[in-house]
């Protein structure tokens, strides 16, 4: 019987007790899971041009995730050189409770309007977040932020245009968008609530204070929503949070089951 080499599974204790690795993985998981969701659209978009555009965003997010996982692996391997991991160990061999992505990223695609709105909320957060992260005292994070910001600026513009188009379009599209906003809005709050590893990241000078970008994000959302003739839902931060500490919605388990299938079924193989 073939047994899985012990070195394959990343040691979650090392990750959980190291704020910097946790922080980098939080950002990596966000990008991977949303990129994965967007990639589900490939071949099924409402028009070829949009199919291509969304795949582009998925590819950008996947690229960001890879840079971040590679950096996380580097940090991890410094602490645990005897059983080194790669980007793939971190993406494919951690379970639901170890993923730190925000709940917004893992929400199902739904219809095109839900997907573009999810992208808009996320890109809006990423845009202000990476602007701040450019001033990180961690040179790797700084470099990733600078590179990603160019891409995210485009994602934000693209998704803003779609929110406006669909909000302002027809009565049907407006109704659909207002409903999508109501469904997704509760998941936005958690992005601005600090997890313990974020607080450590801020005090050490390499992280962004989550609450510090909330006002800018909200302002941008209000501006785009008003152009879209949509109203911004009003909800209090509630129980739609927990992603950063690995308490997810039920959706993530299915994403991982699909995404990690080959790595889990054929452990230790090269692909």
């Amino acid at each position: 019987m073939q047994t899985m080499p012990a070195s394959l599974l990343p040691d979650t204790t090392i990750i959980n007790t190291n704020a910097r690795i946790s922080y980098v993985l939080y950002l990596a998981d966000n990008a991977l899971i949303l990129g994965h969701r967007n990639s589900e659209w490939c071949g099924h978009g409402p028009a070829l041009e949009q199919d291509i555009a969304l795949s582009n965003i998925a590819l950008d997010l996947l690229g960001q995730a890879r840079h971040l996982y590679q950096y996380a692996a580097e940090l991890y391997n410094q602490l645990n050189p005897s059983a080194p991991v790669t980007e793939d160990h971190l993406a494919y061999l951690r379970d639901v409770r170890d993923f730190r992505n925000c709940l917004l990223a893992e929400q199902p695609n739904g219809h095109w309007g839900q997907t573009v709105l999810r992208q808009f909320f996320f890109s809006c957060w990423q845009y202000y977040f990476y602007q701040q992260l450019q001033h990180s005292n961690d040179t790797q994070l700084q470099a990733i932020a600078i590179k990603s910001l160019k891409e995210v600026t485009y994602h934000l513009r693209w998704s803003s245009e779609w929110v406006i188009r669909l909000g302002d379009g027809t009565a049907e599209s407006k109704t659909r968008m207002q409903q999508a906003a109501a469904d997704l809005w509760p998941y936005t709050h958690e992005l601005f609530q600090p997890a313990a590893f974020e607080q450590e990241a801020v005090s050490a000078g390499y992280g962004v204070t989550p609450g510090s970008i909330e006002k800018d994000c909200l302002g941008r959302i209000q501006h785009i929503f008003s152009e879209a003739t949509l109203s911004v839902p009003v909800t209090q931060p509630g129980l739609h949070s927990g992603g950063k500490t690995g308490v997810h919605t039920e959706h993530l388990g299915f994403i991982l089951a699909e995404m990690q299938f080959l790595q889990r079924a054929y452990p230790g193989s090269e692909w």
């Binding site: 589900e40 409402p46 795949s55 590819l59 996947l62 890879r66 049907e172 699909e258 080959l262």
Partner: protein
């Protein structure tokens, strides 16, 4: 007495073909030439976008981040190919919407290869190697076809297809060096994709009635059988490098002809698949129709918004 030279448009057209000049959208062309091109280019465009489905299947299950990125970029390339080709067909006076309609109601065909299922990760390798490989074989000569917009689209497409073929080969090569399970997975994929790939060149010359006309019009440069033979010769060699066998007991080097001999193709299966009875015909068409129907409110909203913007701009 003076002789008046009357040049009829048909002569100008044929003369251009003979001199290897391109026919452009505004040029006069015989109606059957136009119809043949519309049929062929739209069929080609449909194949690109239906072809996204069997491989798109594996984007969410790709085994590494790198493979995921490569596969997503590849399937996205195919969407781009569809776009170039629909645009080329539109220059002949048919709209993209009309072409979609013909695809959705079953009037237009697409390559029968995409009606087979992708069952394992190795299928992504086999498709890249064999299906993109066969596509290149068919498409490289099309870069020199007589209709300008089609030829130019094909030049862009062929560049990307050769990447796809190399990526597929590389997936299989990695699997061939992997575990016994991975090697078995890859051999199984090659076994399943070989014959359908051979059918991609179309019926044998003897039963391909349009070939002569298409060659006269310089849309086609080689016959189906010529291209198929080229494909077999290349794949037989590459299979050896990969260490996989091709599922044809009659495949054998023939020193006299300087080519590989190969066994008979099951044309009955080909006709079945073409006529809608392939393993995935229904799934593929359903997926395309669903994407189109689900996108209707989106396209309507986008149009409505654009119209409002226009009115606003006019009023300003």
């Amino acid at each position: 007495m003076e002789t008046v030279e009357i040049t009829c448009p048909d002569q100008v057209f044929l003369d251009k073909l003979d001199r290897e000049l391109k026919i452009e959208p505004k040029d006069w062309m015989p109606e059957p030439y136009r119809q043949t091109l519309i049929r062929q280019i739209s069929q080609h465009a449909h194949s690109e976008i239906v072809g996204m489905l069997p491989e798109g299947n594996w984007i969410t299950r790709a085994p590494s981040l790198k493979r995921k990125a490569i596969l997503l970029a590849k399937v996205q390339d195919e969407a781009g190919h569809g776009l170039y080709l629909y645009a080329a067909a539109e220059t002949l006076g048919i709209s993209r919407e009309k072409m979609y309609q013909q695809l959705h109601n079953g009037k237009a065909k697409y390559s029968s290869i995409f009606n087979y299922p992708t069952l394992s990760w190795a299928d992504i390798g086999a498709i890249g190697w064999l299906v993109d490989g066969a596509a290149i074989m068919n498409q490289v000569p099309l870069c020199r076809n007589s209709y300008g917009p089609y030829a130019r689209a094909m030049v862009r497409i062929c560049k990307e297809e050769s990447f796809h073929q190399r990526q597929g080969f590389e997936i299989l090569l990695t699997l061939s060096r992997g575990t016994p399970q991975q090697r078995a997975m890859a051999q199984d994929a090659v076994n399943r994709w070989w014959w359908p790939s051979m059918m991609m060149f179309g019926p044998p010359d003897a039963s391909s009635p349009h070939t002569q006309q298409s060659m006269r019009w310089k849309i086609k440069r080689f016959t189906n059988d010529e291209l198929r033979q080229k494909f077999v010769d290349i794949c037989a060699e590459q299979a050896t490098i990969l260490g996989f066998s091709l599922p044809d007991p009659l495949l054998k080097w023939n020193a006299t002809t300087g080519h590989f001999d190969f066994g008979p193709i099951n044309w009955d299966e080909f006709n079945q698949v073409i006529n809608g009875n392939g393993p995935c015909n229904k799934e593929r068409l359903d997926a395309r129709r669903k994407a189109w129907d689900d996108g209707e409110w989106v396209r309507e909203a986008a149009e409505a918004h654009a119209a409002k913007q226009k009115t606003k701009a006019a009023a300003a």
